[in-house]
Symmetry: C2
DNA sequence: TTCCTATACTTAACAGCGTTAACCAACGTA
DNA sequence: TACGTTGGTTAACGCTGTTAAGTATAGGAA
């Protein structure tokens, strides 16, 4: 009965082939270049063939994102060995900024574009990932904050790990998304993403740390154009 | 010879009529509802008539934005009377978040959507606005930071007003843009924009303030769902 | 008054988009 | 050998931004 399995394998193969083509289009030609017809041309199928593998463009894109989210989560995993939660927080910030700088088109898709169907669907594939710090980048960040709170490293009024995690996330997201959206605006003398991100991460960590802790960290001054 | 002037007035009238219709569409039906044909239907002209008044959709949209930028700058003007730069900074943050919360569709257009023509054109109308704190919101923010630096309120290593201004901007932008783009993601237990923004603004101000100044501010704890 | 030209506008059309309906050919099964 | 399932196709619909070509009208000149 390996015959059905073989078919499923083949189907899965063209599925990932489609996803890879879409990803390549994103990376090379940017967001608006990714159309169903161009993806189809890239994989040498008719445009309608894509609909045998994905319900519509929206869900194709969402599938694309999901693997990218896991990619980011895996990047975070390399930081997991850092014991000190505040230092880990700083490294998370750096890894996040690196990811966004290296994959701006993916970043835009993942974090700057509201889903077309305002109410998103909870697929089962996602519920496995969700909450698991090894595959869910937000959970990893949240866990780091929770540890900092548990160890009494944060100011006493900061007791909600979600709130603090979202604030921290917002900091780095703000820097990178502003650059992606407005970085070509000639009216502003932009400073580099790296520098701005370093400043905001340092200031934020100082700002949420308990007084006795607030002087540490952020010591090394990076230089750049 | 008032005849040409009258014509020009009439032309200007339908021009603003078009812009108003587009703005209304944005506000009521959101970003992707704004199409040339729908604008045209709203003003009771043929779709192609819009091209007599705007080069293309891109520049129509940009014109729309420009008046919105000025609207934001005027909102900031109400804060100008606040003398203390750090307190003014806090109020800027609040006003910014309020603006974004009240006009999410405009916000998305203004700050979350990269321009189609990567290289933006410097129109003369813009060069009048640029740098003038009364019409340029960024200039107003930058000026506030510069004052704080001049008065010795910031940590000594923070000497570049653009860098600090961009970091501060990124903080609030991060919060609101994350909510606009991902606020309907059911996997995250979102905290309110207001609360998150208050936290990040307070923490940031604490984090960039000179040590002697860092304990002040951020005293009142707002409550909400 | 009559002709002419510039101007504001329209209709028709093009190419590309996401998506659906109808059709077709090949394969595994009975 | 006949049959239904499966993976693919072509044709088409209604939408998008935009251009080309045509039309009516208003103002100036004869």
């Amino acid at each position: 009965m390996g015959i059905n399995e073989r078919r499923e394998r083949e189907k899965e193969a063209v599925r990932t082939k489609i996803l890879d083509a879409a990803r390549a289009l994103f990376a090379s030609d940017g967001y608006e270049a990714v159309t169903m017809r161009r993806i189809a041309r890239a994989v040498e199928y008719s445009p309608t063939a894509l609909y045998l593998h994905f319900k519509d463009k929206e869900s194709l894109i969402r599938d694309l994102c999901m693997t990218d989210f896991q990619f980011l989560a895996r990047a975070f995993q390399k930081i997991a060995k850092e014991k000190d939660p505040l230092e880990r927080l700083r490294k998370i910030g750096r890894a996040y900024v690196d990811f966004a700088s290296e994959h701006p088109n993916h970043y835009r898709l993942m974090f700057m574009t509201p889903p077309l169907n305002a109410a998103e669907i909870k697929t089962e594939a996602m519920s496995e990932i969700h909450g698991n710090p090894e595959e869910d980048a937000y959970a990893f960040l949240r866990g780091t904050i929770a540890q900092a709170i548990a160890e009494g490293r944060l100011r006493p009024e900061l007791k909600d790990p979600d709130l603090v995690a979202q604030a921290a996330w917002s900091g780095t997201h703000g820097v990178v998304s502003l650059h992606i959206a407005k970085g070509s605006d000639p009216w502003i003398e932009w400073r580099s993403v790296k520098k701005t991100a370093a400043l905001i991460v340092d200031a934020l960590i100082r700002g949420i740390s308990r007084a006795s802790d607030a002087d540490g960290g952020g010591e090394k001054q990076e230089r750049e154009s």
